[in-house]
Structure formats: C-alpha cells, structure tokens
C-alpha cells in the first residue's frame, strides 16, 4: 500500500470514530450553550424577550453584591469541599493502594455503593442523622454530653459541608487511588532508604508523585460542588441559597432567561478560569513533571 493511501485510511478511521461523538456534543451541548450565550445579551420585558443585544445583564450582575457574593460563595465551597475531600481521601486511597492486598476490589466497590442510592435518599439519610431528634443529637443527649439538642447540626453551612464532603468523597478517592496504585513501591522504599520517616515520605515523594490524581480529583469535586444546588437547599436551611439555585429560579419562577443565562455564563467562565489556572500551575510545577514523565 502506498504511504498516501495509508494516511488517508487512518484519517478515515479517525473521522469515523470521532464524528458521532462530535455531532452529539455539538448538538446537545455546544449549541444549547451557544443559544444560552446569545440569550445572555437579550432583555426581558414582562413576558416577552427583546432580542436587542446589550451588555446590561452582565453589568447588572457585576454591580450586584448579592450575585458577586453568590459566585464567590460557590467557588469557595468548591475549593473548601475539594480540599476537605483531599485531606480525608489521601489516607484511604493510600491504604487501599499500598496496604490492602486481598479485598482491594471489594473495598473500592464499597466506596461506590452510596453513589448508587441517589442524591435525595442520601440527603434525607443525613437529615435523620443530624436532625434535632436525630441519631447524633439523641446519642449525645443520652451520653449526657449535651443537655439540649444542637440545632446547628442541621440546616446550617456545617450540614451542607458534611453532606457535600460525604457525597463527593469517592470522586476524590478514586483518582488518588489510581495515582498511588500506579506509583512504583520502589519510590517509597528509596525515600525510606535515604532517610525519610513516614511523614516525610508522604510529603517528599507520595504527594508529588500522585499530583495528577490529586488535581483530577480536586477539579472533579470542585465542579460537582459548584453545580450542586440540591444539597445546600435541603441541608443548608437559610444558608442554602446558591448561585445555581438562583439560576434555576431565574429560568423557572422569575422567567428571566437573559439574566439567568448571563449568570450561568459568568459562573462557567469563572470555573473555567479556575480550572485553567490550576492545570497551568500544576504542569509548570515539578510535580507535574513527575507525573507526566514517570511510569
């Protein structure tokens, strides 16, 4: 076969394989987003939409302390929950990857089981645990540690944080586990051989070499937390207003698609900016080098 024919054949295969996906993504993701984007420049007049492009929506949102606060709150929650998840997930991931020999698959499946149950069920389960008459308060009362129920356990930022962390922990554990599992034991042994105690082994070798997993998990949890409006609404009480629930309201009850679109795009843009910054910083750092080039 001639070189040109081979090249053409390869191109044909590549197109065959990618075209359906590209069409699907274009039709059901890119196009709606583009429509949304165009809506963000329109105005709403009572019940009709005025199709005259203007930047009013964006400037109104930018000037509103409430909206700015909501976007900042969403990003902060994303950052905070992702960090909390990383903190909890590292020991678990390390344990499963390097210490567990026999029941590895079983343990990993166990981690996934909560994800099978659905958001609402998990959230209501937590209400049972954290409520004024709930499991935790009853236990503390019975033990005599407290004399009246702690109200702040439920319908508070605390409750939101607990449930969000619980919900999205598997999304941090899995990439971390994969990264640590792929890390050769000899790196850890070499570190100990050269004089590292256990904590130093973690910070000098395990953490830098599992950076890819950490970044992957971090960005996943971040995106999921920013987009989750059900959990804050059902667990957060008066603190449960989020930017996503605001967008939801504007598209639904308020019938203000243009403002909703603008807000959605501002949120999306800030998230993309954040993700790009994280990835750039990561790949520029020696940690990124460690992950890119090692087997």
């Amino acid at each position: 076969m001639k070189m040109v024919t081979i090249e053409r054949e390869r191109l044909r295969t590549a197109l065959l394989l990618t075209t359906p996906n590209l069409l699907f993504i274009t039709a059901f993701c890119v196009l709606p987003l583009a429509v949304l984007f165009s809506y963000s420049f329109f105005q709403v007049d009572f019940v009709s939409i005025l199709r005259e492009p203007t930047l009013d929506n964006y400037s109104r949102i930018a000037e509103s302390a409430t909206y700015r606060g909501l976007v900042a709150k969403a990003l902060l929650y994303g950052l905070g929950i992702a960090s909390l998840c990383a903190l909890i997930a590292y020991p678990i991931a390390f344990y499963i990857a390097k210490r567990v020999k026999v029941y590895k698959a079983a343990l990993l499946t166990l981690l996934l089981i909560p994800l099978y149950t659905g958001d609402l069920i998990r959230i209501f389960a937590w209400r049972v645990v954290l409520g004024a008459e709930g499991v935790l308060n009853s236990l503390l009362l019975w033990l005599g540690i407290i004399s009246e129920p702690i109200w702040v356990l439920l319908f508070s930022p605390f409750a939101t944080t607990v449930v969000l962390t619980y919900n999205y922990l598997p999304f941090m554990i899995f990439p971390l586990w994969a990264a640590i599992e792929a890390m050769d034991d000899s790196y850890i042994e070499a570190a100990m051989d050269l004089g590292c105690r256990h904590v130093a082994v973690f910070f000098k070798v395990v953490l830098p070499l599992s950076g890819a997993g950490l970044v992957a998990g971090f960005l996943m949890v971040f995106a999921l937390v920013v987009g989750d409006y059900l959990t804050p609404q059902l667990m957060g009480g008066s603190s449960g207003v989020t930017v996503t629930s605001a967008i939801h309201d504007m598209f639904g009850a308020a019938f203000d698609w243009p403002t909703g679109s603008a807000l959605a795009w501002i949120l999306l843009a800030s998230m993309i900016l954040f993700v790009v910054c994280v990835l750039y910083a990561f790949y520029r750092s020696p940690w990124g080098r460690g992950v890119r080039r090692s087997k």
């Binding site: 000899s186 042994e189 070499a190 050269l194």
Partner: protein, 374 residues
C-alpha cells in the same frame, strides 16, 4: 584457608547473617542462610530468578521482615532498625530516581534529610557528580537521561550518603550489553575508590565473575557455595554450582575408592574411571559426579598417559569463531568439548577426546537433566 577467610581476617567482618529464614505465607523464600561480608569487599549473590537473592537484599535494606535468624552490622543487631536508620543504601533495580527532582536534588535528597549545612551538601553533591562523571547533567530531570546516565545517578544517590554497605539489586539489568560491560568496569573501580562494601545481586555469572571478590551462589533459597570467582569456577562444591557456573560437563558416577585424606578419590563413570581431586562434601556412599570443563577437553591422536581418554561420536557442532563447541555421545553420556576451530570433526564421525586428571574434579550430587550445548 579459603579466600573468604583470608579477607575476613585481613579486613574484618562488616555484615553477619545467621540462619536467615523468610516465609511468605506457606512459601519459604529463604531457607536458613549464613554468610559474612568483609569490609571493603565486592560480594555478589548469584543465582537464578526466584532463588531468594533479592529477598536477602531487601531484608538487609530493611524492606522485608526476617522470619527467623539474625543480621548484624558491625556487631550491632539490625533486625529492629528501620530502613531510614540503617547505614545502608540501595541502588534499586529500576533506579527509582525521583522524577520530580533534578539530578542534583536527587543526590541531595539524603543529605538534606541528615540536616547537613547547605555548603557541605553542595560540596558533596559536586564531588559525587564528578565521581560518576555527570557534572554537566546536574540540572536535568531523570526523564531526560539515558539508561546508563540514570544508572550513574542512582549509584551516586546511594553512595553520597557514605553508607557502610551499598546494596545493588541487578542494577545493570536494563542496560544493553555494551553499556553493561562499561558499567561493570566503572562499578568495580568505584567500589575500590570508595573503599566501601558492595553487596550485588545478579543472575548473570559473567557479571559476577567480572565484579566480585566473593561470590555467594544461591539456589532455591539456600546457599550452594561461597568463594572467590576462582574457587567457584575451579572447585565447585556440587553439581549445581558446576552446572550453573560455566555449564560444565557433569557425568554421573560412583566413588570406588576414597583416599585417606579425602582430598582425592577414584570415580567410576560411563566414560571411564579416573582419579581426581574431590570437593569436601563428597563421601563414598553418596551420589557423586565427574565435572569436566568443556575447554579442558583435548582432541587426541594417542591416549593420554595421565588422564581420562575416550572415543566418542560427534552429534552436534556449533561454530564460535576461534573455537567450536562439539557435542559428542559416549556410552549414554553427552559431553561438550570446546575445541580449536581447525580440529577436524564431522557430525556422525568418531573422535578421541581426553582430559588430564588434574583437570577433573569430583563433586557432590547427581547431574541435572540438561547436558546439551549451551
């Protein structure tokens, strides 16, 4: 007095292993191993894969627990000392260079943990880089280095900490033949310059011969023989060592006469009877074999006056340049002779071969089932 005893009495003992046993569940990987490593000595553990040699190295490094037995370094027990507290460093098989650190930072890794002064660290890193001729590549990352360069960095990262004992786990395994030969010379040279004991693990007997002062031959979790390369090659204790080292001809026989001092005996074999020196482990009532190196066999016109002569039929010939390997059959025994390239020999013809009796050796045990041209 063996070479090991001489070295031990001259330089003193560094590491002492007594009755080391390692079980993985029901599998016994190391089965009661005793050895000593002298100071300033290149010791190699030689054996096929799965013989327990890497396990021994890992136990000395502190990465595996010891099921039974004792390890002492300079007389101090090592068993409950954590790897990071042992004055021992390891060159790992895959080098295990930290990919996120530059060459210089890889070298400084251990020194920084010892909390040395910055200028002292720089001085030692510089000196180590010079020793392995890597000064110009100090700012590179490991992934930007070739296999041989990574090997040198791994070596430098280990010896820069000035350990009492350096462990090397088949460090040349990943290199091509030319590079491996080159690194063998460098390794031996380095060991002498550093005046440090190296414990080296390999399955390559040529490498073991090229590098070692002392070779420990292992098989199935046990030590078969400890000695200098010359002792191992010329005076194998048993058929395993004779076969593993250089693939000697092993011919099963029976001891017909044992001389008083037990240093020589008469053996009766399928290719004839001969009186020869025998290993210390040989006794009159246990199986014994006659061991003849293929290069010690000569092509003859007239029988030898003082040795073993036999007529044999040529079955295979392998050309090797200046010499050729000739496999012959005599009675039911297969024998391989390394003859000059110009010796006339044709497959199917009969030739007369012989060996001086002082080139024969009687070793303990029955021969293994191989015996073909290697």
């Amino acid at each position: 007095m063996t070479y090991l005893d001489q070295t031990l009495s001259a330089s003193g003992s560094l590491l002492e292993a007594r009755g080391i046993i390692k079980d993985y569940g029901s599998v016994r990987a190391v089965d009661g191993v005793d050895f000593e490593i002298p100071n300033n000595c290149f010791v190699t553990i030689l054996g096929p894969s799965g013989c327990g040699k890497t396990t021994i190295l890992r136990m000395i490094g502190g990465f595996e627990s010891i099921t039974e037995g004792s390890l002492r370094l300079d007389g101090e027990p090592l068993m409950h000392v954590m790897p990071y507290e042992r004055p021992i460093n390891t060159v790992f098989q895959n080098y295990a260079l930290f990919p996120h650190l530059r060459v210089a930072d890889n070298l400084a890794f251990g020194l920084k943990l010892q909390k040395l002064a910055q200028n002292e660290i720089e001085r030692r890193v510089h000196r180590a880089l010079e020793t392995v001729q890597m000064t110009s590549l100090a700012e590179r990352y490991p992934s930007q280095l070739s296999g041989g360069q990574q090997q040198r960095v791994a070596l430098a990262r280990a010896f820069i900490n000035e350990p009492k004992l350096l462990l090397l786990d088949e460090p040349l395994g990943a290199l091509d033949l030319k590079m491996r030969r080159h690194m063998q010379v460098e390794l031996k040279d380095l060991q002498q310059r550093l005046a440090m004991s190296f414990l080296y693990v390999t399955h390559d007997q040529e490498e073991a011969f090229a590098l070692s002062d002392i070779i420990i031959v292992m098989n199935g979790g046990r030590i078969e023989q400890i000695g200098s390369p010359e002792e191992i090659y010329h005076s194998p204790l048993n058929t395993y060592v004779a076969d593993f080292i250089g693939g000697a001809n092993l011919i099963s026989g029976t001891i017909t006469k044992m001389h008083g001092t037990h240093s020589t005996a008469m053996i009766h074999t399928g290719i004839g009877d001969v009186e020869a020196e025998c290993s210390t482990s040989v006794t009159a009532h246990e199986p014994a074999s006659l061991c003849i190196r293929s290069e010690d066999l000569q092509h003859l016109q007239v029988p030898l006056a003082d040795g073993l002569t036999f007529n044999a039929t040529v079955t295979h010939i392998i050309f090797q340049g200046s010499s050729k390997l000739v496999e012959v059959k005599v009675a039911d025994e297969k024998v391989v002779a390394k003859l000059d390239h110009d010796v006339p020999a044709l497959v199917g013809e009969s030739i007369m071969l012989g060996v001086e009796h002082n080139r024969c050796r009687i070793v303990h045990g029955k021969p293994f089932a191989s015996g073909n041209i290697q």
